[in-house]
Every structure is written in structure tokens, then in C-alpha cells.
């Protein structure tokens, strides 16, 4: 969906408290300072809230990078509408 990427970026910047974050498809936790398992659940819950979607445990644990995350958000949003 058109605005997924932009809105995701806003959530990332907020959660990691860093306005310089620019999301890339292949970005992983290793690329973002403070992205640990704690922040991960803050991030997931914030994304769910932002897009009014809900991920399953399996979906959350199998995500490999930001690209897959965005795709998952798009899929959830599409199935909602």
C-alpha cells in the first residue's frame, strides 16, 4: 500500500528515538542501534497499532528484514479492506 513505507519509517524513528533512520528493504536488527528483543516487541505493538492490524507469533518470529515486515503489513492491510 502506498503509505506503508512512510508510516513504518515514522514508527521506527519514534521507537528507536532516531530521526535519521531511513528504512531499506534489506535492513535488519543489526543495522539499527538499540534494536533488541525488548524494542522488538515495542516496535511490533506500535506497528500493529499504527496500521490496526495484528500479527501472529509465528509471523513475528520469522521476519527476516524490514522488507518482509512491510510486505506483511501490506498483506494484513489488504486482507482487512
Amino acid at each position: 500500500m502506498t503509505d506503508t513505507w512512510e508510516r513504518l519509517q515514522v514508527v521506527f524513528r519514534d521507537i528507536f528515538d532516531d530521526d535519521s533512520i531511513v528504512l531499506r528493504e534489506d535492513m535488519t536488527a543489526a543495522d539499527v542501534a538499540n534494536w533488541d528483543s525488548l524494542n522488538h516487541i515495542d516496535l511490533i505493538v506500535a506497528i500493529e497499532r499504527e496500521f490496526k492490524v495484528k500479527f501472529t507469533t509465528a509471523e513475528v518470529t520469522t521476519l527476516k528484514n524490514v522488507g518482509q515486515l512491510a510486505a506483511l503489513v501490506d498483506k494484513k492491510r489488504a486482507s482487512k479492506s
Binding site: 519514534d14 528515538d17 528483543s37 525488548l38 522488538h40 516487541i41 515495542d42 511490533i44 505493538v45 506500535a46 501472529t56 507469533t57 513475528v60 518470529t61
Partner: protein, 584 residues
């Protein structure tokens, strides 16, 4: 109290906006990381700079048993132990003994952790209980089966509560009550538990964190002591001056029940030691009418320690009540249905706690109760008698007015004072006085009950309490002095007193005794220290008044010395009670 907002705020806290520090350790079999930013922010809102220590995940046993653990190196003021029902469920599933034996073993395990902590640290232990599980294996029949998981959790909670009751230095964090207030359906988040061992839903972590802050602040003496009440439309419906005693709305059933319920709530607070004051814009004779004539009044005139009914503004009256009671404004809660009065008091006296009251009186009790304003860390016999003590004080003040001079008045009181070394019977009240005394407190060391117990058992130290009584009643335990001999000096490590007993020669009597003690021990000097706080200005020149000379330190932390041979013994009108201080 929104999770994300509090986390965001935690990144921008200004340490300069705090006036106190606290060290908190978190131990849990769930993840504690999410609580750290929440606690930081919520403490900061109360002017407290919190440093936090997180024990490694599931490290409760390891960290508490090992004397060299990071936990003890951190030297926390408080250790919060958060036990999750999720972890309990997992270990229940693997039980080898029967369910009741399992419950007993878990309880013993928890008490063992307290033992371990208390053998290595004087930190206050704050033990959580378990949130009741949401699943019912037998349905309603769960309650009839002692071995059902819910019965087991309930019995562990009861047993832990009971063990904590008889234990100094252990407080309870009633997580079950917080969770059931939120609702278990909303509290638990199994997915977050699976992903990150999160204790509960992120949304509800703030209310638990606030509960922890409330407990911690109470250990620092930040507790409410008095509720100041408006009358018309707060304590009863209608306006007594207009409607008359038959016209006001107040009854046990129906439209006046909301006010009746508020009065019952206040009566319970009173019975646990919270003082009640009235501050009403009314003629005194009208204001008193319901207390004297209305059959459904739960509160009686004698329940009200300070009764102010006049036409001056409420802030001024609250100040007056503060002066009479000698308590801090920040320990007063003001209840008034009128938003104008609430805002006036908030504006003029920002320290006073002014809860927002809902429009419907039916919701008053719930709104007040939700704020958890009446947290405490102790409960002693004195609490039950507090209203009586303060009322006797008001009577003393009346008597004072009718005597020609102060000496004559003091002599007429026939005061008797007992000074004795700390004993286990008085420890709760001693610790309470130490936590609560702000104004007449020279060094403001906040010893916990466990610290006091350690002092009691320390032969090198002379920890004393003083009890006062007079013709009109018993003041109870009103002072604490901790002395220690160093070289040729008797050092006053602590000296604090209840402000109820000022200006009657108590401090003079005690100083006579301290100097006498130095003499007996052949020490040539007495040394004292004054550590300035926001509230203890009253005793800034305390040592100077007794002829001490400042010999070191600065304005904020001054050292004072008295040469024993120079001391002029003070005349007082207090005679020793049966046993005076026992020499070591």
C-alpha cells in the same frame, strides 16, 4: 498513562528537576526491561531520580544467594521481586509432589529469597503476589478442588501475605489487585510472553509501574496523612445553610447513598490513622448541624480533628489546618465538589493533593480510591489512636491560652517521658516516625524497619526512642535519637521528633540526657550534624540554641560541636517515667 508516551518521555528526563534519588533493583522470572523506562518517568514526575538495576532474566535465586552479585554491589534501596503466574504455571505443570505440597514449597522458596536478601542487604524487599490465572480446569468447581491451579495460586498468595505480615523489611506489591482492576482478559498477553517473556500487555505496564512507584515513595515518607473535606455537596447533598438539616440529601439507601458511601470510606480511612479535617464556607453553627442532628451521618464531630467553617478562602483555611496539625501540605488531600475551589487550592498550594472529582457523587469513592493516595509501609497501634492524639493536642492548645505564662502551663501538664534503647516491640513505630518526620529531623537518614533492627542489635550504637505522656493523654513514641561514641566525642547521628510535641521542653530534656550520657562515658565533646533538606529549616539553628559551635561543613551539611564542660543544663517540666535509658 500511555506506555509509548512514558517510554518516549523517559528519553528526555531532566535530572535537575528532581530533588531526591532512589535505587531500585528489579528481579523477575519475566522480562523487566519494559518497566525500566516507565519507572524512570513515573519517579521523575514525583521529583525523584531513579537508578535501576535489572537482574539477569530469571535470576532471582542466583542474584540473591550470591553475596557478590551485581544486585548487592548496586546497593539498592528497594528490591522489587516480580513473580509471574506464567512461570508458575510452567513449574506447576512439572510438579512431582501433590498440588498442596507444591504450593507450600513455592511459598518456602519465596521466603528463602527474603532470607537471602536480608542476610546480605538492608534494602526493603517488595514481593509481588501472583495474578490469578485466567484458565479454569474444573470451571466453577475449581474453587472446590484444593489442587486446582487457581486454588494453588490463591493459597500461595494467602501464604505469602501471611509470611510478609510478621516480617519486617518486606512489603507487598499487590499485582493481583492491579491486574484484576484492569481485568485479566486485558492484562495477559500470551503472545508477548512467548515472544519476549513480557509480564503483561504493554498497555497495562504503566499502572503496575505506578503501583511500584507508590510503594517506593511511601518508604520515603511520601504518604497522605490528612483528608480535608468540603461539606455541602461533598459530604452530603445540598447546602446546609439553605436546605436545613431535614433538607440535605444523605441516607443509607437511594439518592443520598453516594454521600453515605463516601462517609463510610472516610470513616475507614480514619480508623487506619488518616486524619480528617473540615474546610467549609459556612457559618460554624450551620456546618455543625448535620454532625449533631442528622441520623444518617456516619462521621461524627469527634472524627474531625480540625473543623474550619468560615468565609475566608479555602487555601488560607488549609494552611491554618496545616499549622494546627503540624504536617506537610504535600501530605494533605483536599476533597471538594466545586471545581473553582479545587483550582484555587491547586493554584495557591500546589503541594496539596487535589483529586479531580467526577460530576456524579456516586463515583466519588471510586475516583479517589483509584488514585491510591493512601499507600503506607507500616501500621501500628498509634495509627488507630492518631485522631485522639491530635484532638488532645487541640485541647492542650485551648488550655495554654488560659495560663498566665508558658511555664505554669507546662508544669500543669505533668509530663512524663520514657527514653529507652530500641526494642523489637517498638520497631514498627520507630521506623514509621523515621519515615514520616520531615521538619524536626536533623539528618533525615531514612532507616527502614530492617535498618532499625540492625541498629537495635549493634552494641556500638545507642539507638534511643522517647515516649511522652501527660495529664491529658498519651503522645506515644515521639522521638528518635541515635548516638555513637567516636574517639572523645559522642556523635548525634540522628535526632528527629514528631512536631506534635514541640515547645514543651522535650528537646531540652533529651539534650540534657545526651550530654549526661557523654559525661558518664567520660567523653569531652558532643558532636552533631545538620543536613539541610527542603523541609527541615525549623532545626537549622537547633545546635546553636544549645551552645554548640559550628566546627565544619557548610550551610547544607553543618557539623556542630559542644564541649561537655560548657553545657548549661536546661530547666524543663518533664519527669522521667519508670525506666530511663539503660546504660550499656
Amino acid at each position: 498513562m500511555d506506555y509509548a508516551g512514558l517510554v518516549r518521555a523517559s528519553k528526555r528526563l531532566d535530572p535537575a528537576a528532581t530533588s531526591q534519588k532512589i535505587k531500585i533493583a528489579l528481579l523477575s522470572d519475566a522480562a523487566t526491561q519494559q518497566f525500566v523506562p516507565l519507572l524512570r518517568t513515573l519517579f521523575h514526575r514525583k521529583g525523584v531520580l531513579a537508578s535501576l538495576y535489572e537482574a539477569p532474566f530469571d535470576g532471582i535465586e542466583l542474584e540473591t544467594i550470591n553475596a557478590l552479585s551485581g544486585l548487592y554491589r548496586f546497593q539498592p534501596d528497594l528490591i522489587f521481586i516480580l513473580n509471574s503466574v506464567q512461570a508458575l504455571r510452567a513449574s506447576f505443570a512439572k510438579r512431582t509432589a501433590d498440588a498442596q505440597a507444591f504450593a507450600e514449597e513455592k511459598t518456602r522458596g519465596i521466603v528463602k529469597i527474603w532470607d537471602a536478601i536480608q542476610s546480605h542487604s538492608t534494602a526493603t524487599v517488595v514481593q509481588s503476589n501472583f495474578v490469578m490465572p485466567y484458565e479454569r480446569y474444573f470451571g466453577n468447581f475449581d474453587l472446590k478442588v484444593a489442587g486446582s491451579f487457581s486454588s494453588v495460586v490463591a493459597s500461595i498468595n494467602a501464604a505469602v501475605g501471611e509470611r510478609a505480615r510478621s516480617r519486617t523489611g518486606v512489603l507487598l506489591n499487590d499485582v493481583e489487585s492491579v491486574a484484576s482492576w484492569v481485568g485479566r482478559r486485558h492484562w495477559f498477553d500470551d503472545r508477548l510472553w512467548d515472544l519476549a517473556k513480557a509480564f503483561c500487555t504493554l498497555d497495562h505496564m504503566p499502572v503496575l509501574a505506578q503501583n511500584m512507584v507508590d510503594i517506593a515513595l511511601a518508604t520515603r515518607g511520601r504518604v497522605a496523612k490528612c483528608v480535608v473535606l468540603d461539606l455541602d455537596n461533598t459530604l452530603w447533598g445540598g447546602v446546609i445553610g439553605d436546605d436545613g438539616v431535614d433538607g440535605i440529601v444523605l441516607n443509607a439507601h437511594g439518592d443520598g447513598e453516594a454521600f453515605y458511601r463516601l462517609q463510610i470510606y472516610l470513616k475507614e480511612l480514619l480508623q487506619r490513622g488518616i486524619l480528617l479535617a473540615v474546610c467549609s464556607k459556612n457559618e460554624m453553627s450551620n456546618a455543625l448541624l448535620p454532625f449533631e442532628k442528622h441520623p444518617d451521618m456516619v462521621l461524627k464531630r469527634s472524627d474531625i480533628t480540625v473543623f474550619l467553617a468560615n468565609w475566608s478562602d479555602k487555601a488560607e483555611n488549609i494552611r491554618k489546618a496545616r499549622d494546627i496539625l503540624n504536617i506537610g501540605l504535600d501530605s494533605m488531600v483536599f476533597l471538594d465538589d466545586n471545581p473553582f475551589e479545587r483550582n484555587l487550592v491547586r493554584g495557591v498550594l500546589p503541594e496539596v493533593i487535589v483529586p479531580e472529582l467526577p460530576e456524579d457523587p456516586a463515583d466519588y469513592v471510586r475516583a479517589i480510591s483509584e488514585l491510591n493516595l493512601f499507600e503506607t509501609t507500616t501500621f501500628s497501634k498509634e495509627d488507630v489512636n492518631r485522631t485522639e492524639l491530635y484532638r488532645a493536642e487541640a485541647e492542650r492548645r485551648d488550655a495554654q491560652a488560659s495560663f498566665a505564662n508558658a511555664d505554669e502551663f507546662l508544669r500543669s501538664l505533668e509530663m512524663r517521658m520514657l527514653v529507652a534503647r530500641f526494642d523489637s516491640f517498638h520497631l514498627p513505630r520507630i521506623a514509621q516516625l523515621i519515615q514520616r518526620s520531615n521538619q524536626f529531623n536533623l539528618t533525615t537518614h531514612r532507616y527502614s524497619e530492617a535498618d532499625c533492627e540492625a541498629l537495635m542489635n549493634d552494641g556500638e550504637v545507642l539507638p534511643l526512642y522517647a515516649k511522652l505522656s501527660d495529664r491529658l493523654g498519651d503522645h506515644g513514641l515521639i522521638g528518635v535519637i541515635v548516638l555513637v561514641a567516636e574517639n572523645d566525642e559522642l556523635v548525634i547521628r540522628d535526632w528527629l521528633m514528631s512536631c506534635r510535641v514541640l515547645a514543651r521542653g522535650v528537646e531540652q530534656t533529651l539534650m540534657n540526657m545526651v550530654v549526661d550520657e557523654a559525661r558518664k562515658r567520660k567523653l569531652s565533646k558532643v558532636r552533631g550534624e545538620y543536613r539541610k533538606t527542603a523541609k527541615n529549616q525549623m532545626v537549622e539553628d537547633f545546635f546553636a540554641r544549645f551552645g554548640f559551635i559550628q566546627t565544619g561543613g557548610d550551610q547544607n551539611d553543618a557539623l556542630w560541636t559542644l564541649s561537655v564542660s560548657d553545657y548549661q543544663f536546661k530547666e524543663t517540666f518533664i519527669s522521667p517515667a519508670a525506666e530511663l535509658v539503660a546504660a550499656e
